[in-house]
Symmetry: C2
């Protein structure tokens, strides 16, 4: 059990993991915690996919990288262009060879889009940290479009990946990353 | 200080508040905690507006209700139509007469949209709960379009409200709301 204000500071994005499997029951507990997130109209739009197969993760990483590079070629001024170089490196795995990958998925018809699943992802990352695990939301890993691959991982038609989250036991805890001071646009007392 | 797994269960959406002001320093601490959320490329796109004036909140509520009703008239099959009746009630204040309202705002150019600010909103709601406060993300309160009003609350051009969150000391803690069992689309070991 971990105090929340301690957890707030301890949760870091983890990209290096021990060679130690995450117990399936622990993943299920974390997913159950994630379902406690609030959602618009209590819709609870979140669905989950659990991937523990590293070969498949590598395939999903390659697919996402390929699609992002196609997007950059079409739109060279994209704000994502800072990732161009790393995505061109064939050795780079967007999922960092993690032992487990969880996709949080919603229907494209859900309104408002993304925010409910993002809240569930926040719950997921806190619950995992409280259980001694490390996580990282891999935005670059959401660009899976090949119908065969979408079918293989069980994403129904009309659904999108909101949050790909890697999970595992951290090799080490990185030091705190730079934070800007809060930007308060206006206070109206 | 509150254990996280306790906090997970205790955080409820609060819509009834005591007549007790929230100390500005506490709001600033909660905002500082919110800025510890992870974000794509560590962009930290969140900006904050703090409103403590109930007359202004009522005006913002009326503006949002009016715009939502215009939208429903244009798109009668909108998934938001379940709110139609309540929005037509002039006495209904979407912000529930809370003592404080915080908007989390981002640039419309930020990519990916919404999710980073949604994570910050999750941090905000946990941090507030850990400090004995209650919150509710008011999705219906984000539809402010009148340029004069946007200027009055300090939203720069090219920015949107992702999360309007009401904050105050709860009158009572509602019982736990219905949760579906986790929907796992696929497990690939």
């Amino acid at each position: 059990m971990m105090d929340f204000l301690e957890l707030l500071v301890k949760r870091r994005s983890i990209r290096g993991f021990l060679e130690k499997a995450v117990p399936p029951d622990t993943i299920m507990e974390i997913i159950k915690d994630s379902c406690l997130a609030p959602s618009a109209g209590n819709d609870q739009p979140w669905r989950f996919i659990i991937v523990g197969n590293k070969d498949l993760m590598k395939k999903l990483s390659d697919e996402s990288k390929k699609n992002l590079l196609v997007d950059f070629a079409k739109n060279p001024s994209s704000p994502m262009k800072r990732y161009m170089q790393i995505l061109q490196d064939p050795a780079y795995n967007v999922f960092y060879n993690a032992p487990c990958l969880v996709f949080i998925v919603e229907s494209t018809e859900h309104r408002p889009p993304y925010v409910d699943c993002a809240l569930a992802a926040g719950y997921f990352m806190f619950s995992a940290t409280a259980r001694g695990l490390g996580t990282c939301w891999i935005g670059l890993g959401a660009n899976i479009r090949e119908p065969e691959l979408l079918k293989e991982i069980g994403i129904p038609e009309g659904h999108i990946i909101v949050a790909p989250i890697i999970v595992g036991y951290p090799k080490s805890i990185p030091t705190e990353i730079y934070r800007k001071d809060p930007r308060i646009l206006k206070i109206i007392p």
